[in-house]
Symmetry: C2
Subunit: 333 residues, 2 copies
DNA sequence: TGCTTAAATGTAAGCGCTTTCACAAAGTGT
DNA sequence: ACACTTTGTGAAAGCGCTTACATTTAAGCA
């Protein structure tokens, strides 16, 4: 691999000049620029980006930490981040945090050790203080789907409370009053927000629901199945079940069917996230759209603007969820 | 951030000694090692991995190129790669190739420019020659789900032909003889292999199928829907449809239902890949397991052994698909 | 004790870039 | 013509490490 030195030699200029034409931030005479470019082409020169990083103290890489690399939710987010960042010539280094505090911290340390210029984090186990501290210590951080007081505009959030509200409101407007709710793990912030929205809608419609219709799920299909089984075992009647995500809604629908209940004739089901899969289920799932790809793209843009381009132009960091009506919700008689 | 120099100063040793205790490949006296370790801890020293990379000509990072970052198939693969590689302290840089030749080449260039120690590729648009050339020019490459003559053991493959065979054999054994086939894009190697397996099974059972029952799909749900629509529009009867992947099988099932056909009473459906989603569909999809996570892990291990540990121990690079029986396939009367 | 050999450590030369600084060349305005 | 900017360029000092080589120290043995 040719080095900058060989290029400078062939072009008959100094190292500095070659570097200048590469970076394009200083003026170079047309004559030398042409020579350098020709020499580069002839030698098939590619700058060594590691050397560039060391000298410039900028690695052109950003770390992306998600809970899991699989799963439709993160897939779209990652896709958004990667697309935007690569278009800007930045590398993205991925890591999985597995929703576990030690693992998340470990992953963050790992990304920092690679000197990422910034970190895009979707974490739920780590504390707000930890994130704040991280940022204070000089690692630019943007957090997805979580609001951290003090991190300000670098939190790319969905209004989860509103999502929860919209979901349940839609169910209520269809006439349902006996509404079961399958939440995610309650230690997660977004789970509590969605639940809060649910309760707000209930209150608004003057609807009271017994505690036994609240089940804490695990965000997985299995959890949905388990929740539905428990719900069915109880005598407490219900005509609809609102789920805190689509996977669990899937489980609920499958379990309903296994118990000879038709969705939506016998039970209506509401999801959350609008994961790709929800379009393919039977019946097609009515859900709340979580624009994860869009948010990933926005996170990437935040990094581009704030870290690489220094244009502190304001970005949209609060996204609004929307209702996606499909077939799993039906008006009650 | 403290540098190695400050550590050496504080510990009262030379730079080289500090470097030695870090790398642990040369003997250092216990006394000095202890001092150095203490100094490191006191200064909260973290080696600058960029500088290490430049000096050692090893970046400890491997590039991972997949067609798309979303989608269950790649998700599991990536997850396997990341898990294994991070455990070994290696960074994974991801990129998406979008099954487009220019885009794939671009992504590969991009990863090389970051001086990845090796590349793990899931590509389908780029030619064998290109990959061979890449490898010859000094970029260690491991290819997933594709066999490239000359790359030998660094191809992590699934026996797609066998998968295609198993799928169709299972359908035939259920008594079906009028079997439609929805393939993926025929320019993809694995698509042709799966089809070859399909035809072998057909031949083995002495079953002849008219051309009109072969439809070229796009590997997406929409393609499955379109294929099924076309099949239904034709007068040519069929009792089962074998699909080259699960997404399309989903589309086929949805389309069947929209036309008041019950799966599997009226039509049986067979998938391929055993994507997570296939467990959640209704009916649960009978399919062929593609151990993508396992293959990702194997690719990562190949890199670990061949690039970082230089133990050329043989690895399992040819995976066998297996049949996963669920509910979308039924014995014909 | 003196000599040989091995082990531990330090010195210094890179790795391939960026960037500051100094300086020469070429314009400007008066 | 002069002093005074402006513009283009090169020399050289890093960036924070690794590692070949030189040097010192310790150990082994006759």
């Amino acid at each position: 691999m040719a080095t900058i030195y060989e290029v400078s030699e062939l072009a008959g200029v100094s190292l500095a000049t070659v570097s200048r034409v590469m970076n394009g931030n200083t003026r170079v005479s047309e004559a030398k620029r042409t020579k350098v470019l020709a020499a580069m082409k002839e030698l098939n020169y590619r700058p060594n980006s590691i050397a560039q990083s060391l000298a410039s103290n900028c690695t052109n890489s950003v770390g992306l930490l998600v809970s899991e690399l699989y799963g439709p939710f993160f897939g779209e987010m990652m896709s958004g981040v990667e697309g935007e960042l690569r278009a800007a010539g930045k590398h993205v280094i991925v890591a999985a945090g597995h929703s576990d505090e030690a693992s998340e911290k470990d992953a963050i340390e790992f990304l920092i050790s690679r000197k990422c210029d910034a970190l895009i984090l979707h974490v739920d186990a780590v504390s707000d203080e930890y994130l704040l501290d991280l940022n204070k210590k000089g690692t630019p951080v943007v957090v997805i789907n979580r609001y951290v007081e003090g991190l300000g505009e670098s939190c790319i959030c969905l209004n989860n409370e509103l999502g929860g509200y919209l979901a349940t409101k839609a169910v209520l407007e269809m006439g349902h009053r006996q509404i079961a709710y399958v939440s995610g793990p309650m230690w997660k912030m977004d789970v509590r927000e969605r639940l809060a929205g649910h309760k707000r809608a209930l209150k608004e419609f003057g609807c009271e629901v017994p505690d036994s219709l609240y089940i804490e799920g695990d965000f997985h299909e299995e959890g949905g199945v388990a929740a539905m089984q428990q719900l069915l075992k109880q005598k407490q009647p219900f005509t609809a079940v609102v789920c805190a995500n689509d996977e669990m809604a899937c489980g609920v629908m499958n379990c309903a069917r296994d118990n000879d209940l038709d969705v939506p004739s016998d039970v209506s089901v509401m999801g959350f996230d609008n994961v790709i899969m929800s379009r393919y289920t039977f019946p097609h799932l009515t859900t709340i759209d979580f624009p994860s790809g869009e948010m990933g793209r926005m996170a990437a843009n935040w990094v581009r603007h704030h870290i690489y381009e220094d244009k502190k132009k304001p970005l949209n960091t609060l996204f609004e969820p929307t209702l996606v009506l499909r077939d799993s919700l039906r008006k009650i008689a």
